[in-house]
Subunit: 407 residues, 2 copies
């Protein structure tokens, strides 16, 4: 029953029953060398669930996926492209998303099958559908379970990321092995027009779509919803999980221990992918865990963590390795959850900077050391209750501004 | 009845009945040359009103001013310092704020009089009270109505601002002249630890404290509450208005035309000071008016304007003179006021980039010209209702990040 975890694994091809194919089809108009289209295909229609951006302005593929997940009876696979987000593309964008799914189904010889579609890249421009069509056909001809193709798929969805993001969890239940594996692309601007997070997780467990949705929701809340690079929420953010059932291991209400194990595997995969996304944030130099405890409610703790994690002043000071706790207190205060300054504790890792609202300047040499690390935690105890929240955030660099100042 | 407006005026000394004195007393530990303490003193106790930061973590002088405005029967003046915010300074901070007020009253020979206290600067450090005491005494000995001393007061409250911010409005009512004049410091970090906005407005109109509060609230909502440099709200933000009554012109309920004129003068002074604050934002290169129309409610319009005006991606693109309307649409969408993408119009000044959700790439050469100016407007019509909001925002530069990366 123990869970094994593999970081930087081949990704989707670790899961029995899934094939992938990835190609370059020049969606960026910069040549065919760069991979930009991936197909993920199961042997038969899968249970599927997804979580999506809550932005009012949703890209066409997001609207398309939401519709498919409501209406389709099983999903055969995913077609994903980078280089163009198919966002703010009006009705033609909706047509192009639907066409991509149809082309994928035809290319794998199952014209009636449902495919999900995900795009990431430039916004406001139509997909070059002739290239996409050719790309889907070529990717279908490459479909394989080879680890190398799994790696290519993880690369094909990247935009401004500097490295592919993959991981795999595996456990055994009554002699059967169950695998959960995923790939992701990060919250960097795309080309560099738009921050988008995409993650695809596949498993060979037998899970109903309803149970899968509940499990994914739980995993997402503790992973992708607890990271922030620049606070900008994209039009395309998407996390999808497909369950092929090929292992024969039925994750269902009657088996709470198995359910817990599966949840743990899914949680680990999502959390590891989310961490990779922050760690590869655009031009960042620091990953900082903002740990809020002692809040009245989890939502209060989250508001404080996000105010800190998205403050330009705080993020700039992290870049400068300047342990400026005044900016933490200020940002915590404007989250307006009713902080009592005279109860507030602030520390860098285990070094207190403020206790009960009273500064401890004598500790400064020690906390200045803490912030020199690439990863560290800032901890605020509001001392108002028992709720907590942990946000993984990144610093803000001059490199980020210069990278994103133009298209 | 016509209203005259004077930009970059001497400031407070324009108002009959107010004297000012400004000195350098080395609060920053960097020598006496830099002015860092100002006294504003009326001939007799004034009607007074204030608006303050809504941050949970309020600096000691903010708490002190709120108490004085509730309890005191008239306010004789203001003592303001830069270089130290007296924020996050626990009980000693409260004592120091009260002591500063008392020292000011003694220094002007009216030991029982009420003074307001405002501080801006470093956070988490105690005020150097020996220096403050000497500064207050020296400032009191300099009290004057000379324009040059008015200018010195406007300089003494600055921190990372690059220039003093002053203006004056004047109108005549039944042969009597009424003056409204103000000074402000901007939303730049302090030393550079904390963004704080301070503004002091004085008038010789006769106005009750209650009417003054209502008038200030209205003026603030259309000025200081409609600007954003970096989205960080300080522990010290304060706007104070003092009315000496020396002109003898009674602004009261029975005189609606006079009330309107006074409101207009106050609005103009506050708006001009707010504009100066954005225009002098830290290391900015652009001032952008984010004009949202067609919202269902004013609050909806404000949420969309602030999402855009505080988006790192949007602000970086302004810095790069890149008219990236996709980022505007994305940020508008995550304000989550229920935008319908198919109704959304976006334009740069009068050049449409998107109409009813449909991009107009043929206009790109024209809108690229618009964003080259130091000041321009981006306009979003949500086409959902009649409400609107206008936010004055600034770009985000590599200079800002590097300036704020360390203490």
């Amino acid at each position: 029953m123990s869970l094994e975890f593999f970081n930087d694994s081949p990704g989707i091809t670790d899961v029995p029953g899934f094939k992938v194919g990835a190609v370059g089809c020049d969606i960026r108009n910069k040549g065919l060398e760069r991979l930009d289209l991936a197909l993920i295909v199961a042997e038969q229609p899968c249970a599927a669930a997804g979580v999506f951006t809550t932005n009012d302005v949703k890209a066409a593929p997001v609207r398309f996926c939401q519709k498919v997940l409501q209406e389709a009876n099983g999903v055969l696979g995913i077609v994903a492209n980078s280089g163009n987000a198919n966002a703010c593309t009006a009705q033609q964008g909706d047509l192009d998303a639907a066409t991509s799914a149809k082309l994928a189904a035809q290319a794998v010889g199952q014209p009636g099958a449902a495919f999900l579609v995900c795009s990431t890249g430039r916004i406001g421009e139509l997909l070059p559908m002739a290239k996409v069509e050719q790309g889907i056909k070529t990717a279908a001809s490459r479909l394989s379970t080879a680890a190398s193709e799994g790696q290519r798929a993880a690369e094909a969805i990247l935009t401004s990321d500097t490295r592919p993001k993959t991981c795999t969890a595996r456990f055994t239940w009554q002699g059967q092995t169950v695998t959960v594996a995923g790939i992701a692309k990060g919250a960097g601007m795309i080309e560099p027009n738009m921050a988008t997070m995409l993650a695809f997780v596949c498993t060979d467990a037998v899970v109903s779509s309803a149970d899968l949705k509940a499990a994914l929701k739980q995993a997402t809340e503790q992973s992708f919803n607890c990271v922030s690079v620049d606070g900008d929420m994209s039009t395309n953010d998407t996390v999808i999980v497909l369950a092929s059932g090929r292992s024969g291991v039925k994750v269902q209400a009657g088996e709470p221990a198995l359910q817990a194990l599966f949840q743990k595997a899914l949680d680990q995969v999502c959390f590891a992918l989310a961490e990779k996304i922050v760690g590869d944030g655009e031009k960042i130099t620091k990953v900082v865990a903002v740990e809020i405890t002692g809040a009245r409610t989890r939502l209060d703790a989250e508001k404080v963590a996000r105010a800190i994690g998205n403050s330009l002043l705080v993020k700039s000071s992290w870049f400068g390795e300047d342990p400026n706790w005044g900016r933490l207190a200020d940002a915590a205060g404007y989250a307006r959850v009713g902080i009592d300054e005279s109860r507030l504790d602030i520390s860098y890792e285990d070094v207190p900077a403020v206790i009960q609202g009273r500064p401890l300047p004598e500790n400064k040499p020690r906390w200045k050391q803490v912030v020199k690390a690439r990863r560290f935690a800032v901890r605020l105890n509001l001392n108002l209750g028992d709720a907590q929240f942990r946000l993984l955030a990144a610093d803000l660099t001059d490199g980020y501004v210069n990278y994103n100042k133009s298209e």
